[in-house]
């Protein structure tokens, strides 16, 4: 009986097998890359907002504390977004005719709230609580990045679970002195990272529990 396939077909077979393998690996790799890309995570993507609010200007330029606007960050899971009234506290006096601020003034006049686009958006099955992170010495910068250098707000990190776990597994690398939570930029040299383990102890952080599923999911 004659061979059905010519010996040169072996090369095809090898190419198919290894090629297939290569394609599979390439697909898996690109799948992973896509998943971590800004397209999916929306990290570093600037979102359009009703008012082009500059954190850079307000934080590093004017030195306004985070809590002046994000009033409930120490009390609640939700950090709080400034009410129109808070904006108007200053802007009824300064820049009161700026066309950029017209939506704010309109909101104050009509009572219609401003609608900001959420930049840091966790999935609904994650129960993040700002207040406990503040209480345990996690600075704003650890998650939100150098907000003081962001003319327009963007997400500095992926907010993916693997990113959360970096800190939940090794909080000593991230905790800071409670006085420096709202500070951006390099910390004072004496409060640098090597104090981490002591702070973890001082704050009573049970590191083992930080990776219990129901700490964040429930």
């Amino acid at each position: 009986m004659t061979q059905i396939f010519h010996p040169s077909m072996n090369a095809f077979a090898k190419a198919t097998i290894f090629g297939g393998l290569f394609v599979a690996v390439a697909m898996a790799f690109s799948w992973d890359r896509i998943n971590r890309s800004p397209y999916v995570t929306e990290a570093d993507v600037v979102r359009e907002q009703p008012v082009p609010f500059s954190h850079e200007h307000h934080v590093s330029g004017l030195g306004i504390d985070c809590r002046y606007c994000h009033t409930t960050v120490e009390k609640s899971a939700f950090a709080g977004m400034p009410t129109t009234e808070i904006c108007m506290g200053c802007h009824s006096q300064i820049w009161k005719d700026s066309p950029m601020l017209e939506p704010v003034r309109a909101s104050f006049r009509t009572g219609e709230p401003l609608q900001w686009t959420r930049v840091h958006d966790l999935p609904d099955f994650v129960y993040f609580d700002h207040s406990i992170h503040i209480a345990k010495g996690i600075g704003c910068e650890s998650c939100h990045g150098r907000v003081d250098r962001m003319p327009l707000m963007r997400r500095a990190n992926t907010l993916q679970m693997s990113w959360c776990l970096r800190c939940h597994r090794r909080p000593e690398q991230f905790v800071r002195d409670r006085g420096e939570i709202f500070h951006f930029g390099p910390l004072a040299p004496t409060k640098a990272h090597d104090h981490g383990p002591e702070l973890v102890k001082e704050y009573g952080i049970d590191v083992r529990q930080l990776t219990d599923c129901w700490i964040c999911h429930r």
Partner: protein, 1053 residues
């Protein structure tokens, strides 16, 4: 599978053809059941007749984890369809993946001006009240960003003391019910409030000229001081107008009985915490009376012993004794130390005889002949009551005739209970009248054509007026009919105008509790639709359509409280949830009844034949909750029936009539006929059929329409809750019923531990030590490292009254869906917490036991070992965590769970009812934002309310302190009227839960499996009376081979 149904099977798939009819002589089966019980010497715990009989269907059912799941019964063409769908969904999944990956854009909408003290993300609690039957229960309602999500009891309110009943828990679902009426309707067409005002304004001048002649108002029972004031001033203005009241679960007998006894309207308040002997005569005082929640707390407070608590003086623990005589098996009977099934029409004779024995000051004439079965009871009750003068209480149910109530007042007086366990106060109701008489008067004047304008303000008389009155027929003759109601219901359909009523969480108002305490009903949300309140409707009649309910209620109280301190007192009343110093004052009414020698005045007594008793449904009450899915799917405490009512009969009566479960029968009396399926209930009196009210609705909405039989049709025009001489006819048809009594069976094995009080006092260590301190055996499971908290729970079976409030509270707190009747029939109900009901004893009057079962959070959890994807794992605080995102739906965990507490989302259940976010967006508002809403294909189970644990931990850690005992209260614990559930930190030796775990009564379920459950139980203690032939000790039954063992022995059926 055997396709022939067993005569009383309740596990055969009720949806299959198997309902064709019995093919075995029922008599034989009953005999075999009795023989089996006799051989067990009363020591056997059983859940259903099928379990007792070990029918092939039952054995088949329990030998499988998921009875009748997908795949089974799939025809080849279905399979092909299935493959097609699979292929299509795979393809769609590919397309949809990118959609899954990116999150939709969300908006943040901050306030323009933020209200004071408001922290977004933290819930606020507001005090308000809910009324049922007119009586208020004080509540604290949780509000997330302005939307009410969960009801809790108000600890300061005397009717609540922090707990609620199942109705209050479920009422939040009624607020968001997508089927609620949303607009004013005129003759079935959408209209507006303005048009209604115009139409009514056209009538008013004429009406005034006639001094209100031709105007009739029909309300439910009114306790609201404001509304009473409004109505009284309206009637003063229009003296010819008529105000009628009708409450379908009415208390006419109670009112008339008090009137008979004292010559005036008097309300009775009981103090069960002072009573050593309680006699309940057909009285469901633990769940179905004004003040029930409070009564349950008081009553159980007198029975909680040995929970690790010693009396200060070291004296023996006091424990009250409850005797219950019941015409329908209820919770009082289940909790009672002695229970006597008795026909409702026999109770009057019994009470007359008891009154004679106790030599009350009323001349009762010849004592009635008492049947042999009841005679020992009479003697025992009389002597026990006499022995506990001033510390006993006799209470009679709303269904018994007025004379029985009067005689019970006399008995309580003769026993010196008045002022001790029984307190009299002036009537709480605004206008105590005989409501049936009032309704009859209304029907009569409608028949005469005297009523030109009828306002039905609340209530649904077309549906729930007694059939004999033919209310609907006469209603049609009224010239202008206006109906205020939550739903566009049966009465709305027959009315010219339908006005949507505001839910109690949307409206201002006030109401009084069972003891007179007044609560201002404070809204938590503006009306979702165009809801109006009854106050506004009356104001329209008074010519003040511009007044809102807030103005009316506030205006009334301003007049009452005076200008001086009004603002501060009003604010305090709103904050506290009750108006200070409004409790009714106790007084001693003059006794007036001297002689009652007439023969039984009950219209039915003496007649023979079948009796029908009516009772409010334990889950949907009088039908007002018919469209509430949580309540429809809530298994009734004793029958475990869901989504339906049934004609409940005793085994012997069923045997005599030749009927079996699911048989559709026709019940008729005086030309009125209804059809209902039979359900055989152990403990039902013979020749007495119980029918729950509230079913058979035709216009309640997509949940409640067309379910069960409308028992109101059979009711007579007398204030009677039972009828004799009812004819029963078999139809030959059968009806499917969804009953959960065999679901999630743990198959015997020493689950309920119990002892008598004497036995416990002689030998407190009566429980097998292996159940109390299970030996820790070698295990494959890893030992988890423990942290400073170890959460645990103890459930006290002596305190559990089986009221179901915890089940609904859990459902509300944890976003648990309803699944529908058909899915319940397949054993797929989603309740994380179930209450198992066991019977022990003979078929005719067994004792009942309740056992709430939720996830035990085993330290060595069998479920964790078998999950292939690590979706269920242990936390360092000992919680058995379920991770929805990891779950792929293998259901191995549930298979391996010996307690059967895991629930699987077979379908997207919300979609089944058109209840998804797209179809009914309003239901999104209902969800607890602290708990994930689960999707199809995911396993779920009790979390110990981890959202509450985390919230308390976060609060404590922010304040740099450990979590205190009692800071974490699970939803089931919070709602429990009797505090039967205790939760806390086992590591804290002083915590309540740790002390309870030290009690000799504490034991584990299925301890021999080495699961080390974190939830344990306190054994049930009973306090029987030796005079009634009760054994002094109850032997703990040996742990039997399981049913599964027997299945394996026999081979699978």
């Amino acid at each position: 599978m055997n396709n022939k149904a067993h005569p009383m099977t309740n596990v055969a798939d009720p949806y299959s053809e198997a309902l064709a009819g019995p093919d075995e002589s029922p008599a034989l089966v009953w005999e075999s059941l009795r023989a089996r019980l006799a051989s067990a010497d009363g020591q056997l715990f059983w859940r259903s007749f099928d379990e007792l009989a070990e029918t092939p269907e039952f054995l088949d059912y329990v030998s499988r984890e998921f009875p009748r799941q997908s795949g089974e019964g799939m025809a080849p063409e279905d399979r092909r369809e299935f493959l097609k769908l699979m292929a299509a969904s795979l393809g769609l999944a590919g397309v949809g993946l990118s959609g899954c990956m990116r999150q939709p854009t969300e908006k943040i909408v901050p306030y323009v001006r933020q209200p004071e003290d408001f922290v977004p993300g933290n819930p606020l609690y507001f005090a308000t009240c809910m009324t049922l039957g007119g009586y208020a229960m004080g509540l604290l309602v949780e509000s997330h960003l302005g939307r009410p999500t969960k009801v809790e009891g108000n600890p300061q309110h005397p009717a609540s003391l922090g707990a609620t009943d199942a109705f209050a828990q479920a009422s939040i679902l009624s607020l968001y019910d997508p089927d609620r009426s949303q607009t004013v309707m005129r003759g079935g067409q959408i209209s507006t409030w303005g048009e209604f005002l115009t139409a009514l304004a056209a009538e008013l001048p004429d009406l005034r000229k006639r001094h209100g002649k031709g105007l009739a108002i029909l309300t439910e029972t009114v306790t609201s001081p404001t509304l009473a004031d409004q109505l009284h001033s309206l009637l003063a203005e229009l003296p010819e107008a008529k105000w009628h009241q009708y409450e379908p679960v009415g208390r006419d007998n109670v009112r008339d009985g008090a009137k008979l006894a004292f010559g005036e309207h008097v309300d009775t308040i009981y103090h069960f915490d002072q009573a050593d002997v309680v006699v309940a005569l057909d009285a469901e005082f633990l769940t179905a009376m004004p003040g029930s929640v409070r009564y349950a707390r008081d009553f159980i407070d007198r029975r909680k012993l040995a929970r690790g608590e010693q009396q200060a003086d070291g004296a023996p623990h006091a424990m009250s004794r409850l005797y219950a005589l019941e015409s329908t098996p209820g919770l009082a009977g289940a909790v009672a130390d002695h229970r006597l099934p008795i026909r409702a029409d026999e109770i009057e004779g019994f009470v007359r005889a008891l009154a004679a024995q106790l030599s009350v000051e009323v001349e009762v004439g010849q004592a009635e002949a008492i049947s042999d079965a009841n005679a020992p009871w009479l003697a025992a009750l009389a002597s026990d009551l006499t022995a506990h003068k001033e510390a006993s209480a006799v209470i009679v149910g709303d269904g018994q005739p007025a004379i029985v109530h009067a005689l019970v007042h006399a008995i309580n007086r003769a026993l010196g209970n008045v002022g001790k366990t029984v307190e009299y106060v002036p009537s709480i109701e605004a206008e105590p009248i005989n409501q049936i008489a009032s309704l009859k008067e209304l029907v009569e004047s409608m028949r005469q054509g005297e009523v030109e304008l009828l306002l039905v303000l609340g209530g649904n008389p077309i549906y729930n007026a007694p059939g004999a009155l033919e209310f609907g027929k006469h209603y049609e003759t009224v010239k202008l009919r206006v109906h205020l109601a939550d739903d566009f219901d049966e009465t709305s359909f027959a009315s010219h105008w339908h006005i949507p009523a505001a839910h109690y969480l949307e409206s201002w108002g006030d109401a009084r509790a069972f003891d007179g305490t007044t609560t201002i009903q404070q809204p938590l949300i503006a009306p979702l639709y165009q809801g109006r309140t009854i106050y506004e409707m009356v104001a329209v009649l008074q010519g003040h359509p511009e007044l809102a309910a807030y103005d009316i209620v506030r205006g009334y109280w301003k007049r009452i409280l005076g200008d001086g301190e009004f603002e501060s007192r009003w604010r305090k009343a709103l904050h506290d949830g009750l108006m200070a110093d409004t409790r009714a004052e106790s007084y001693k009414p003059e006794w007036s009844l001297q002689s009652e020698t007439s023969a039984a005045t009950s219209p039915n007594a003496g007649e023979l034949g079948l009796e029908v008793t009516f009772c409010p449904d334990p889950t949907i009450w009088d039908g007002r909750f018919a469209n509430n899915g949580w309540l429809q799917e809530l298994p009734k405490p004793l029958t475990k029936l869901t989504w339906d009512n049934a004609a409940l009969v005793s085994p012997r009566t069923a045997e005599r009539l030749g009927v079996s479960n699911y048989d559709l029968v026709e019940l008729s009396r005086d030309g009125q006929t209804i059809r209902a399926p039979i359900w055989i209930v152990p403990g039902q009196p013979h020749d007495s059929i119980s029918l729950a009210l509230g079913y058979g609705r035709t216009r309640s909405g997509r949940i409640g329409n067309g379910r069960g039989a409308n028992a109101y049709i059979l009711r007579s025009a007398e204030p009677a809750w039972f009828l004799s001489g009812v004819e029963l006819k078999r139809t030959g048809e059968r009806r499917s019923l969804a009953v959960t009594q065999n679901h999630h069976s743990m198959e015997g094995r020493g689950l309920v531990q119990l002892a008598t009080l004497d036995q416990f006092q002689q030998n407190p260590e009566f429980i097998d030590p292996e159940l109390r301190h299970p030996e820790i055996l070698p295990t494959l499971l890893p030992q988890f490292e423990e942290s400073e908290n170890a959460w645990g729970m103890v459930i006290d079976q002596t305190a559990c009254i089986g009221c179901n409030a915890c089940v609904v509270a859990c459902q509300a707190e944890n976003n648990i869906p309803i699944v529908g009747k058909e899915q319940v029939g397949k054993g797929r109900e989603m309740h994380w917490l179930r209450i198992d009901r066991y019977y022990k004893g003979d078929l005719d009057s067994p004792d009942a036991y309740f056992q709430p079962v939720a996830c035990m959070h085993c330290e060595k959890a069998p479920c964790e070992l078998v999950c292939p994807v690590g979706a269920t794992v242990h936390s360092h605080e000992g919680l058995n965590q379920m991770v929805y995102n990891r779950c792929v739906g293998t259901r191995y965990c549930s298979n391996n769970c010996p307690y059967k507490v895991r629930r699987f989302n077979f379908l997207n259940y919300d979609a089944e009812f058109g209840y998804t976010g797209e179809q009914a967006p309003v239901l999104k508002l209902l969800r607890n934002p602290d708990v994930t809403v689960r999707s199809r294909g995911v396993m779920e189970k009790c979390t110990y309310c981890v959202q509450r644990i985390n919230a308390a931990k976060i609060t404590a850690q922010k304040e740099d302190r450990p979590v205190g005992d009692g800071e974490i209260v699970t939803a089931c614990q919070a709602v429990c009227p009797t505090k039967a559930i205790v939760f806390g930190n086992l590591r804290d030796r002083n915590s309540q839960v740790a002390r309870f775990k030290e009690s000799p009564l504490n034991y584990s379920l299925l301890a021999d499996l080495n699961t080390l459950p974190r939830t344990t139980y306190l054994a049930r203690i009973r306090n029987p009376n030796a005079a009634l032939g009760a054994p002094a000790t109850i032997d703990t039954p040996p742990i039997e081979p399981t049913i599964l063992d027997r299945v394996l022995e026999r081979g699978a059926p």
